[in-house]
Subunit: 338 residues, 2 copies
Amino acid sequence: MVTLAEVARHAGVSASTVSYVLSGKRSISAPTRERVEHSIKELGYHPNAGARALASSRSNIIALMVPLRTDMYVPVMMEIAIAVATTARSHGYDVLLLTGEEGPAAVRRVTGSGLADAMIVMDVELEDERLPLLHAARQPTVLIGLPADTVGLTCVDLDFTATGALCAEHLAELGHREIAVVGEAPAVYERHTGFAERTLEGLRRRAGELGVRLLHRACEGSYESMDGTLSRIFDERPGTTAFVVQNEAAIDPLLSLLRRQGRAVPEDVSVVAVCPEQVATQASVRLTSVAIPAQEMGRRAVELAVAKLAGGAPEEQVTLLAPELTVRSSSGRAPGAP
Amino acid sequence: MVTLAEVARHAGVSASTVSYVLSGKRSISAPTRERVEHSIKELGYHPNAGARALASSRSNIIALMVPLRTDMYVPVMMEIAIAVATTARSHGYDVLLLTGEEGPAAVRRVTGSGLADAMIVMDVELEDERLPLLHAARQPTVLIGLPADTVGLTCVDLDFTATGALCAEHLAELGHREIAVVGEAPAVYERHTGFAERTLEGLRRRAGELGVRLLHRACEGSYESMDGTLSRIFDERPGTTAFVVQNEAAIDPLLSLLRRQGRAVPEDVSVVAVCPEQVATQASVRLTSVAIPAQEMGRRAVELAVAKLAGGAPEEQVTLLAPELTVRSSSGRAPGAP
DNA sequence: GCCGGGCGTCGAAGCGCTTCGACGACTATG
DNA sequence: CATAGTCGTCGAAGCGCTTCGACGCCCGGC
């Protein structure tokens, strides 16, 4: 274990000089710097993280809280997590992975121990029990997702309301008058994770404005559940000609079951999905979809956190990413439409 | 920021006493302990992670290196990552998330800086470039996956060779004589990640022993690719009556395309998958499958790492988890079989 | 009644780094 | 030519914790 002192001795300078070479916080003459850098390389020196954290009260670590559940939108989460890790590294930070399991206790532990300099919290619920603690902590925090009350918080999320509206518009333009929304699993609504509700709200409002009828049904991501949901939808609204799906796991079952029922996509029914690009392009039909910009969300979250750490960011800031609808092969003019 | 010294003053004891109360490394009388614990609670004290790491040269952090690619077996990885995080917490460790992006440099950085006490590496390639560094590091390391040479390494993995053999046996018993293997994407084989090859090897060997013909084709997880693969398989071996799939993303396309071609599962063709339980039970047909025990792998990896840290584990230890085949509704007797 | 040995507690010495003030050696300025 | 300012470097003081040796104290044994 090479220490800074050994590097200093090897280079014939004092410890503080080595430190300043490393941090660049004071000017160092070129020859000295080179000598020090050479010694560092030659000895294979790596600063000790603990000592550095203790002395500077900065750990250069960003904590990321991911939900414990592995049953939902996993690819999205993973993509966010990886984007967070990658972006954090590019800013000189490492990422500490916390699971929701510990709940608020994890927040307390991390902020209390100085383990991390900032915190990124995923899967925020509308009335999240971690919020009060996050408020109290002097640690910069960024939420991915939107709680009910965003006062004093920094949040990043896809603008799901606009997403819903966008889907409604697209389908209305194509002449559809009866749209069915296949939502997330009931559990998602029960947890009040916000995004599902917001999509629905956007859909409802815009559909209302455009005179389109909307039917919403929650749905698990299995074939059985999709089968039931589908029957109920067509029983209740036989004139349904379009679907909006927000549950990744439900997409394949939906397409598959529609096909089995002899309903062609997009000739008989149109389908618009809210899902990651990859899912949309790899489904059995190339799906018209609004992408969930997971990478972008992760990246933004880190950048906001870093900005807050540098003191250059406003206290409160809600970043809603504008949705983009990509037309592919699953949506077309409504059957009876002109 | 409450410090240990303040707790000590508040409780009327010395700092070392508080430290010993916290660590339990020396006996403390009950009244003193209670007084200290009470002060800790009252002041809301949390030990500073950096100071602790510096003084004890233990960070209580386990580093987890996950592959950067988000294109493959993502749910499995996520499940492993979460199991690692959860298990680590239950042993008093936090988890640092590293992406493969930095490659060997990340290993050097983490081991050099004392950021983590141990390291868990996922997605190990047969001739992984990180291996020499991991060997050199005095940090305990556990690999999830099997490199070509395991000398001196601790590894955890599903026994994919046995998995392949198990699939072959199951299908042979049902009377199938021609089996097609739908493998991972070509990129997986190019990276030499081992597990795909090992499954194939197990399949080949056992199939050979049982007199069953085997055809292997790599396949991307898309419908187009699956479509092509399927045609080529039936062109080459029209008598194929069974499939083994190891690519999660290929499962839905496979089932869907078979159905479209009018081949019933399991009446005309049987399908056996190697995938997480959840995928097997949520597909359009409940799949006979060998589960990938992601949680178990994550848990084991952490436990091995912790054991190594405690000094109670052998240097070299390869843990191969025995595969279990669960018969569901996608496999049945071969059409012509007695 | 005296001595050896636990047991419980304390003081002090670091762990390796950052950072602040100080200080010598220059350069620019009037 | 004296003086103020700048630049590059150093020394020392911690950051908050762990841990080792030391030191009373009280107990039991003879």
